[in-house]
């Protein structure tokens, strides 16, 4: 077994905006998987919102995942569904029903209302990432996890996407953890955690 992380001792406050930086192979994705409840293959304890989530049942873990919004580098939209259907599916899974009002609200927030009936393949990278953010915001998450959110889009759109995330943090005080290798992106957060070879090499709070 490969050890991707070693002696990680990390506490992230509710309502904070953190970025995790590091070169590829530094273990930042592994850390993100643990934080995002996507991977349970680790030793030690992880407490999310006062719940220790290691040996819990799938139903409990799933319930917590619904309170997490993910933004992936590859957007991870379902290509055979329209934008609207993608959001409806998320709504059904997270809320248990199709909340059309909330869907049009988040689409408006990411300025994508006109693309509701488009398929992801018909959208640009930046547009796809906006939909992805809309989906993450849909159920008003307690925690938003973004994995290289600007990694697959051009510079022009990068600013837009980051502004959306900033806005979400400012307006709703959602805890945000953003993983990036780009220091410019990382600088927007109020805390930067730097990983190197699976250990935290630097952890500083920006003023």
């Amino acid at each position: 077994m490969v050890e991707a992380l070693k002696n990680i001792n990390l506490e992230i406050n509710i309502g904070s905006y953190c970025s995790i930086v590091g070169k590829s192979g530094s273990g930042k994705s592994s850390l993100l998987k643990i934080i995002g409840l996507l991977d349970f293959d680790y030793e030690g304890t992880y407490v999310l919102f006062d719940n220790q989530l290691r040996s819990n049942k799938d139903t409990v873990v799933s319930k917590h995942r619904r309170k997490i919004g993910f933004v992936f580098q590859d957007f991870q939209l379902i290509n055979r569904y329209t934008v609207q259907k993608n959001l409806e599916t998320a709504s059904v899974i997270k809320l248990g029903y199709v909340d059309k009002e909330r869907i049009s609200e988040v689409l408006e927030e990411v300025e994508m209302s006109s693309k509701a009936e488009s398929y992801p393949d018909e959208l640009s990278g930046g547009q796809k990432q906006r939909i992805s953010i809309a989906r993450a915001m849909l159920a008003k998450p307690d925690l938003l996890i973004a994995d290289e959110p600007t990694g697959a889009i051009d510079e022009e759109n990068t600013e837009n996407i980051l502004e959306l995330i900033d806005k979400l943090h400012k307006n709703t005080n959602t805890t945000i953890i953003i993983v990036t290798h780009d220091m410019d992106v990382a600088q927007r957060a109020d805390r930067i955690i730097e990983l190197r070879d699976g250990v935290i090499s630097n952890d500083r709070v920006l003023l």
């Binding site: 998987k33 996507l38 799933s62 590859d74 379902i78 569904y81 599916t89 199709v98």
Partner: protein, 373 residues
């Protein structure tokens, strides 16, 4: 939420139209052929049993005793009278006495044997040994070539048989057991015999389709004859045995047709596995959004159930339609029991769940790490 997943599964199947079609085709063909076989067998046996009921044949069997002349117990006039009293039996077609045997006392030349034997007057007897009656003159007979039965007399060529003091020579032997001894027609006035019914039967045939009529006649005859006669309803027995032959054949053919159902079930398992591999990302997205493993299983089960039930019902309808068209050409009414529909629904639900459950479980265990690069 469940309704939404149903809609979702339907969208998925529609999205993969051609694959869905190919997957369901096996189910369609299998179910259609089972239904065609079942409805053919049902319709044929129904048709035949109708035909039988149109022509009721009753056997009236005497239970009086071995030496009683049956005709003294029940006469054709008696039956006809009773039959005519029943209004519905106005269309009695025929009434005939079953052919009984004629008997004589017979003694072999060596004097050892004395028997009641069956006799017949027939010029055309197929012989296995000796001569036929063609050119024979005098008192000659052809005898049944007995087997090894020790209680029966053994006739040999050239033996003599004494009947009423007249000596007859055996000129030939036969294996035809309509009678024990055959006389040429020309001797019919010379030989004295008696009618001897051990079991005699009358066959009453009617065109009346209502089986109740038969029962009415039976009751009246019983009253008339003070229960001295047993009745056997040959029609019922015949149609029952034909029905059972048909259902045996149809079960056998249905088993062959269900092989195609098994093959399509394997096909569904295969396709579901491929589909899960292809959609690993999609499943991981669902899971990351908070879908439980149970829900993933449920989602994929719905998909396989939808395919199977949809195509099974289409196959059912097609099978019925095809049977109807073919049977109409053959001038037979389509008759299908409701059991066949229950059978198909049961088969398809069992197939759908059976084929879908394993891949669905696999789907629920998709690794979520694939979402992150």
């Amino acid at each position: 939420m469940i309704g939404y997943f149903f809609k979702s599964a339907f969208t998925t199947l529609k999205y993969n139209k051609f694959r869905t079609f190919l997957t369901g085709l096996g189910i369609f063909v299998g179910v259609a052929s089972v239904i065609i076989i079942v409805s053919f067998s049902d319709s044929f046996s129904h048709h035949l049993s109708n035909k039988f009921n149109q022509k009721v044949t009753l056997g009236l069997v005497s239970s009086i005793g071995d030496n009683t002349d049956f005709t003294e117990v029940i006469t054709s006039n008696e039956i006809q009278t009773v039959a005519n009293e029943v209004r519905k039996m106005e269309d009695v077609l025929s009434f005939e006495q079953a052919e009984g045997s004629k008997k004589i006392d017979c003694q072999l030349s060596n004097g050892t044997w004395q028997y009641n034997v069956d006799i017949a007057f027939d010029d055309d007897v197929s012989i296995v040994d000796g001569n036929s009656f063609n050119s024979a003159i005098g008192n000659v007979v052809i005898a049944y070539q007995s087997g090894t039965d020790e209680t029966s007399p053994v006739y040999k060529l050239g033996d003599s048989v004494v009947i009423d003091g007249i000596v007859y020579t055996i000129i030939g032997t036969t294996t035809d057991l309509s009678a024990t001894i055959y006389f040429p027609q020309r001797l019919s006035s010379q030989v004295s015999y008696q009618e001897a019914f051990d079991i005699a039967a009358f066959y009453l045939t009617t065109n009346n389709k209502n089986p109740d009529t038969v029962n009415i006649i039976l009751d009246m005859l019983n009253a008339e004859l003070e229960d001295s006669v047993n009745f056997v309803n040959y029609t019922e027995e015949d149609s029952e045995s034909i029905g059972s032959i048909f259902s045996t054949i149809s079960i056998f053919l249905s088993l062959i047709a269900s092989i195609s159902l098994i093959v399509s079930a394997i096909n569904i398992i295969n396709i579901m596995y491929i589909s899960i591999l292809e959609r690993a990302n999609e499943i991981a997205i669902y899971r990351s959004l908070g879908m439980t493993k149970g829900m993933v299983v449920y989602l994929f089960l719905i998909e396989s159930l939808l395919i199977v039930v949809m195509f099974a019902l289409m196959g059912y309808l097609f099978g019925l339609l095809a049977s109807y068209l073919i049977l109409t050409i053959m001038d037979i009414n389509l008759y299908v029991s409701i059991n066949s529909l229950l059978l198909i629904v049961t088969i398809s639900v069992v197939l759908g769940i059976g084929a879908g459950i394993k891949p669905a479980m696999k789907a629920s265990n998709t690794n979520l790490s694939i979402l992150l690069r």
